[in-house]
Amino acid sequence: MTTITGFILWLVFILVTGRSVMAILMAGKKLFYTAEKAALSYIIGVGMVSLEMMVLQVSGIPFTIISLSLSSVPFILLAVFFSRRDISVLQTTDIDRNVSVFTPLEKFLIAAITLEIVYAFFRALIKPIESYDSIAFYAFKAKIFYLAGGIPKNFITDFKDIVPHVDYPLLLPLTETSLYTFIGSLNDQVVKVIFPLFYLSVITIFYSVARRMLSRKTSLVFTFMLASIPQLRDHATIGYADLPLAVFFSASFFYLFLWMRQKKSGFLMLSFLCGMLSAWTKTEGLVLFAVNAAALIVCVLLDSKKNRSRAVAMYTLALIFFVGVVLVTKRFLGLPFHGDFVTTSSIKSACFAERISWLPRIFYEYQRQFFGPKKWNIIWVIFIVLAAFNIRAIARKDTMLPTIVIAFCFFSYTAIYLITPLDVNFHVNKTIGRLLLHFVPIIVLWIALIYKRWYGSEST
C-alpha cells in the first residue's frame, strides 16, 4: 500500500469513527453545519481511535489495520441505528439567509484564511518531525509503539529511563501510531499531517460557533484573526500536543457555551466528551476540563432563574467519575496522580505561601507575552483594552461564562507555576506561550462577543 493510499484510508477511518460517535451523541438531532460536523468528526475520531487502541492493548490485541478498523465497528453499528432518524444538517441562521454574495472584504478574509491553512499544511509537511518535545517523547513513544505493534509490556517501568515523561497521556503518540499502522512505515514526515488537520478543525469549529451568534462578515473577521495568530499557526506545524489540547478544550468550552444559550443536551454531551479528550491529550487538560465545570457551576448559581441544576450536577458528577477513573488507573500503574512535575510536598500550603514571591516573575512573563506581537499579534492587547473599558459588559449574562473560564484559566495556570518545584524562570519562560495557546480560541470568541455588544449592531 502506498503512503498516500494509507493516509487516505486512515483519514476515512478517523472521520467515520468520529462521525459515528457524533451520530450516537446527537441521536438524530440537527445541531451542526456540514463543515463543522466534518471538523468535529476529525477531532472526536482521533480521540476515540486512541481510546480504542487502549482497549486493544488491554485485550492483548496487536495494533494492525484490521484490529484498528474492527474496534470502530460497534460505534458504526450504533450510528447506523441512530441514523435511521433525521440527521440533516443545520442551515445558516435566518439573519443572513438573504445574503448570498460575498463582499470584497469577505472574499479577502476567505482568501487569507485559505492561505493560512494551505501554508500550515506546507510548513508541517516540508520537514519531518524535529522539534524537541516531539522527538523526545510524543513521536518517540509512537515509534516504540509502532515497532512493538502495541504498547510494550511494563512500558511505564522499563522505559522510564529511555523516554522522558512515560506517564503523559497517550492520545498523541497513539494517533501517530495509528497513522504509521495505516501507511505501513515510520514516515515521520507524513505523520505531521495530524497537526494542520487540527488547525483546520479549530478554525472550522470556531467559525461555525461564531456564526450562530454573529453575522457572516464579523464571524469571518474573527476567524481570520484566530487563524492568523502566529503561535497557533506555528503549533500547527511542530508536532506538540498543545494544539490538539487547545482544540479539545476550546471545543469543550464552545459547546458548553452553546448549551447555556440553547439548552440542547447534545451540546452538553459533546462538551463533556471534548473535555475528557483534553485530559487524554495533556495533563493540563484535566485542569482545563475542571475549569469548564467550575465556571458552569458559578454561572448557574449566579443565574438562578434558569433551572439547569440537574444537567450541571450530571456534568460535575461525570467529571468526578472521570477523575476517579484517572486516579484508579494511575494508582494501578504505580504513577503519582499529579505527574512527575509536581511533588506531594510542593502542594503543601507552606510551600505555596513561600512561592508567592515568584508572582512578579510570572506576571513579568505574562506581560512579555501580551505585548509581544511576534507570537500573538495584538490579540492580548485587544483583550486587555476591551476588558478594561467594558467592566460591566464582561459580567453580563451572554459573556459571563467565557469571562469566568478565562479568569479560571489564568488562575489555574498561575497556581500551577506556584506549586511546581522547578526553577520558576526556566519553567515560566519555556511554557507560558504554550499554556496561553490552550485558551486563545476562547479569548478570540470573547473579544467577538464584546465587540458585538460594544457596537450594538452587526453593520460593521
Binding site: 487569507a112 516540508i126 520537514k127 519531518p128 524535529e130 524537541y132 522527538i135 523526545a136 513521536a139 518517540f140 515509534k143 516504540i144 515497532l147 529511555i162 514516515n187 515521520d188 514526515q189 473577521v221 484573526m225 492568523s228 502566529p230 506581537p373 511576534k374 499579534n377 495584538i378 485587544i382 465587540y451 460594544w454 457596537y455 460593521t460
Partner: protein, 134 residues
Amino acid sequence: MTKKKVARIVFGIWLFLWVLFLIRPYVKNDLYREYKVLFSRSLDGKRAYVTGDSLYEFILFCKEAVPLPSSYRIIGLEKQPHAERRVIYYLYPHIESATPEYIFVYDQETFMYNGYTFFKQLDERRYILKRTGQ
C-alpha cells in the same frame, strides 16, 4: 473618533503585523532557501537537513554497524541536548544506556575509554568503540 473608526484602525494594525510576521522569516532567516533545499531532498535527506548532515550520516552508520538491538552511549553531543534526543529517537530500537555495549564517538579525534576497544569507523572523527569482555 467613532467606534467604527477604532475597529478599522485595530484591524489595520492586525493586518500590518500579520503581513510583517509572515514575510519576516523569509528575510531574516532566509526561509525561502531552506524550503528550496528541503523540497529537493528525499525523506532521509530531510532528516539529515534538520539533524545536520554529518550527524545524521553517523547515526545511519551506527544503526547499520551494530547488531539490533544494542545498548550504546554517544560521546560528543554533551552540549547539544536537542541533538542527543534526535540521536536517541533515530537510533531506537538501539537503546541508550549508562553501561553500554558500544560507545558512539562523534566529532572527537582521540577518545578511548577503559574496557572498550576500537570497533568501526566512519572517518577519523566519527567511530565506534566496543566493550571488551563482560
